[in-house]
């Protein structure tokens, strides 16, 4: 075996969208591992302009192998044997005779030299690179050319000291990388050993951890609102991140925090700074892609941009105040909710009715009435992501009671599974009314999500309904709220399963078992799930579940439709009678207290008693006993859904 070699692949591109980079790296790793080239460690790195995979311990050559080639039969004429040997380029004595199922045959073991790893890589890497999945790709060399997230401009591919040679999209692989766009050189010769250091010399910090660490470290000295998501984003938007601190006129602090923070965070990628008492300070922190700002150009530039943006926001805030939310309701007649589902005015009226039906009080109904009025405000037109929040803020200023403005403020929540549900009951009711109305309407007119297409974000809406009902402990009959739509029912069934499995961590068979016993009341469903989960720790649980499955199979095979009472007179003394007595004793008790005494009786019954008794009456009575037992203990879950090892 020859020495082991390091491998370096750098795909040099134009700026890749920050949020796609982690997924692309994981993909690159999988595609590389699929090549089945032995290696030790893999290291993945990326900046906006490069995706990098480094591996150690690759063999220069794959191991040699042997191929078994079957020759003529031993009985074949000598000429045929010589002919075969000649064709293989060997002497007849290089062959051996082996007995096969067809008889004795000549066999030749051909030595196949392992291929050069470099050749394998050269052949495979173009496919690996173009195989990386991105949500949206482009052509750059012309129609029909390769597709990638952004144009590929250079490729470094080194195995040990050698270039792994290939061409992709007109780019030849080599040993030249490229530094920071303005602080580094455009072409830099690298080796596997000095690659990372050479990049550093040209103002590129290769490691994402180091870049985000650098940002975090510089922020540590300042009282900024923690925002790990923004650190991540900026670390993938820069190759050499450095923070700078800027300020704005304290006059702008008269605007709501939410508006200032949104402008800074979502429009400018700035960190907000907090002052005494956790209030916003008239300052911000930006991250730039250069090392320093000695003349203050970057700081002043950012301050001016922020000033212009805040001025706009203040102008909108003041203009919007000239008309109250209540006075804007009529304008919703001109705002389309969805072409087939009418205007927002109609939607709001449906929401008001629904809020009352859901048990909402006068505050909830009022909040529903005003919930969409902010769609006509300038501020929401400018900062769409603040819909709801802006309505809540205006309602507060305009003297609506606290439960009302908070409900308006929160009613788009939860925006994701990580987001919290509305903070008060009225908000939960309005959020439910809004989402259920959208879901019912869309399903009615056939706007049903399919595959990855979900333009009205109905999955998120349904997931939100489930989360609010479960975490808000709202004991509402979900199935009665779906307008009798079978498609919507099936859609929700998936969402409920997803929620309890993926978000709440219940095992899939526990979820199936409990949902089989009903899932309209999610609070009740959750309580049963908790019970089944703790039952699972009992040693009797899985055997009993297996028996329940057996009972169900027996009942199904016998096409037993139930009904009828157990006739005690027909019960045989012994295990059958014992099981019946145990059933009478534990009937009405929670399964937790019955399980340990019930299980041995059930086991013994199956051990000793033949359910399919020749006498039809006895058989039927036994089936009735089993079916009654199953029904008694299936109110919290259908235990036959539990997956057991036995």
């Amino acid at each position: 075996m020859s020495a082991l070699l390091p491998f370096l692949l750098e795909i040099g591109t134009e700026e890749i969208p920050d949020w796609m980079i982690p997924g692309a790296l994981e993909n690159l790793r999988l595609l590389f591992e699929k090549l089945d080239i032995p290696h030790e460690e893999i290291r993945l790195d990326a900046t906006p302009r490069r995706l990098v995979l480094r591996a150690t311990g690759l063999p220069a050559r794959q191991a040699d192998s042997e191929e078994r080639i079957l020759g003529p039969a031993k009985s074949a004429p000598a000429q045929a044997v010589a002919g075969f040997a000649r064709k293989q380029g060997i002497q007849p004595e290089d062959m051996v005779v082996e007995s096969t199922p067809k008889g004795e045959y000549y066999v030749f073991y051909k030595k196949v030299a392992g291929r050069q790893t470099r050749d394998i890589l050269a052949e495979a890497l173009p496919g690996v690179i173009l195989g990386i999945y991105f949500p949206k790709t482009m052509y750059w060399t012309g129609k029909g050319g390769p597709r990638f997230i952004r144009p590929i401009r250079w490729i470094v591919a080194l195995l040990g000291e050698d270039i792994v040679p290939f061409t992709l999209a007109g780019v030849r692989s080599g040993a030249l990388t490229s530094g920071h766009r303005r602080l580094g050189a455009r072409e830099i010769a690298v080796t596997c050993a000095d690659y990372e250091q050479r990049l550093r010399d040209h103002c590129v910090i290769l490691s994402f951890q180091e870049r985000s660490g650098r940002i975090a470290e510089q922020l540590a000295a300042i009282d900024v609102r923690p925002d790990p998501g923004l650190i991540r984003k900026l670390a993938y938007l820069t190759e050499f991140p450095t923070t700078i601190r800027g300020g704005f006129d304290p006059e702008f602090l008269a605007l709501p925090d939410e508006v200032l923070a949104t402008v800074m965070r979502h429009h400018q990628n700035y960190f907000s700074v907090t002052g005494p008492g956790g209030k916003l300070a008239p300052e911000f922190v930006a991250v730039m892609n250069i090392e320093s700002d000695p003349e203050g150009f970057v700081r002043r530039g950012n301050e001016r941009v922020l000033r212009a943006r805040f001025n706009d926001a203040r102008f909108f805030w003041e203009t919007d105040q000239k008309k109250t939310l209540a006075a804007r309701k009529a304008d919703l007649a001109h705002v389309t909710f969805q072409a087939k589902l009418g205007t927002y005015l109609e939607k709001v009226e449906r929401m008001m009715t629904l809020a009352a039906e859901l048990g909402g009080d006068a505050h909830a109904v009022r909040a529903a009435e005003l919930s969409k009025c902010d769609l006509t405000t300038e501020l929401v037109k400018e900062f769409t992501e603040l819909q709801g929040v802006v309505g809540g803020l205006y309602a507060r200023v305009q003297g609506e009671p606290e439960p009302v403005w908070q409900a308006i403020y929160d009613h788009y929540k939860p925006e994701s599974m990580d987001d919290s549900i509305p903070r008060n009951r009225a908000g939960q009711i309005v959020a439910l009314a809004d989402k259920l109305d959208t879901l019912r309407g869309c399903f009615r007119v056939g706007l049903i999500p399919s595959g990855s297409r979900d333009p009205y974000a109905l999955r998120r809406a349904a997931q939100g309904v489930v989360k609010i009902l479960a975490e808000g402990k709202l004991e509402l009959p979900l199935l009665d709220l779906l307008g009798g739509d079978a498609g919507l029912r099936a859609f929700f069934e998936e969402r409920v399963k997803y929620y309890f499995k993926e978000i709440r961590g219940f095992a899939y068979d526990e979820v199936n078992a409990c949902m089989a016993a009903g899932w309209s009341n999610l609070v009740d469903l959750e309580a049963r799930l908790v019970r089944v989960r703790s039952l699972r720790d009992s040693a009797d649980f899985e055997p009993l579940a297996a028996s329940f499955k057996r009972i169900r199979n027996i009942l199904e095979q016998a096409k037993f439709t139930g009904g009828g009472a157990i006739d005690p007179a027909l019960l045989e003394p012994g295990p059958e009678r014992d099981l019946y007595d145990e059933f009478l004793r534990t009937s009405g008790q929670p399964i937790e207290s019955a399980i340990s005494s019930l299980r041995p009786k059930v086991d013994l019954f199956f051990d000793k008693v033949l359910v399919n008794a020749p006498d039809q009456k006895i058989r039927s009575n036994r089936l009735t006993l089993l079916s009654t037992l199953l029904a008694e203990f299936s109110t919290i879950a259908d235990f036959s859904e539990i997956v057991t090892n036995s």
């Binding site: 482009m138 052509y139 750059w140 530039g301 000033r307």
Partner: protein, 299 residues
């Protein structure tokens, strides 16, 4: 300090030195430089092209009566089309910023994902907004489709917001304070347009008349497009360029009606579709017309 016009001249010279045709603005109202035939039609088909021009771009709804320091009814875009995009296109673009005096070792430049799309043109591309010290100064797009047609050669489109860029360089908080050149301010040159067009677009444009004009231009475009015969030996004579002017007229009327508040959200989609249908039809006919006579076009 460079004046507005010096910046424009420098950028034009920069791109002229990189073998671009320097065009004058198109003389029909458009909402963006992309809509000019020099971009919309030239990016179609297999022939390379390079062009740069300043296009006054009208966005009636953005008018603010000359009161807002950053928003304009009509702003100036420098539009550069490089078809196909050269490999060092980003370097060339950064070079143009350095040419107007921005030292990029002392300023922060970032390319943030922003995929451009123009539904009325059936056009979209992949690219970035270019941020300079937190200010969006350019849109950078690799066109993928135009008029609903996949492009043969992928052009790069660079769009510079000239007022913003100049205000940045001149350190002005209001575009109206920009020094235009020759001792005149931007206010001096442009204030009256902003004021009067805002009054017209928001208050006085006659809605029925605008709808009528829309219908007339749409009718004329449709009439012409209906007459185009791909099999005709004389098809290269066919006036597709004038037909496209009709589409541009419709697009600007749509924008004006929209600013005037005359288009409900429901209607909006339908009107966009009407414009798009014409634009797509022109693009398709144009590709056919070009493929029929590439040699003559080249002359």
């Amino acid at each position: 300090m460079q004046s507005f016009q010096e910046i424009i001249l420098t950028l034009k010279r920069y791109w002229a030195q990189r073998d671009c045709v320097i065009q004058e603005p198109y003389d029909v109202e458009v909402g963006a430089g992309t809509m000019c035939p020099e971009t919309f039609l030239r990016v179609l088909g297999p022939d390379p092209y390079r062009v740069a021009y300043v296009q006054p771009s009208r966005r009636p709804a953005d008018g603010r009566y000359g009161d807002n320091p950053n928003r304009l009814y009509k702003h100036s875009q420098l539009q550069v089309i490089l078809k196909p995009a050269p490999e060092d296109i980003i370097e060339q673009y950064l070079g143009s910023l350095e040419a107007i005096g921005i030292d990029l070792r002392k300023h922060d430049i970032k390319f943030e994902e922003d995929n451009w799309e123009a539904p009325t043109l059936g056009a979209w591309g992949i690219g970035w907004q270019v941020m300079l010290d937190g200010l969006e100064i350019s849109q950078f797009t690799y066109f993928q489709q135009c008029g609903g047609i996949d492009l043969d050669l992928i052009p790069a489109e660079l769009t510079y917001g000239l007022e913003r860029l100049t205000a940045f360089l001149q350190v002005k908080d209001s575009v109206y304070d920009i020094d235009w050149g020759g001792g005149f301010s931007y206010r001096h040159v442009r204030y009256m347009d902003e004021l009067q067009y805002s009054v017209y677009n928001f208050e006085m444009a006659d809605i029925p008349t605008l709808w009528q004009l829309f219908d007339l231009h749409e009718g004329e475009a449709g009439r012409l497009l209906g007459l185009y015969d791909p099999k005709s030996p004389d098809k290269k004579r066919f006036p597709l360029l004038p037909a496209y002017d009709q589409v541009l007229k419709c697009s600007n009327l749509f924008n004006t009606l929209d600013a005037r508040g005359a288009i409900s959200v429901t209607e909006r989609q339908a009107v966009i579709q009407r414009v798009r249908k014409m634009a797509v039809a022109v693009a398709q006919a144009w590709v056919d017309q070009q493929s029929g006579a590439p040699a003559e076009v080249a002359q």
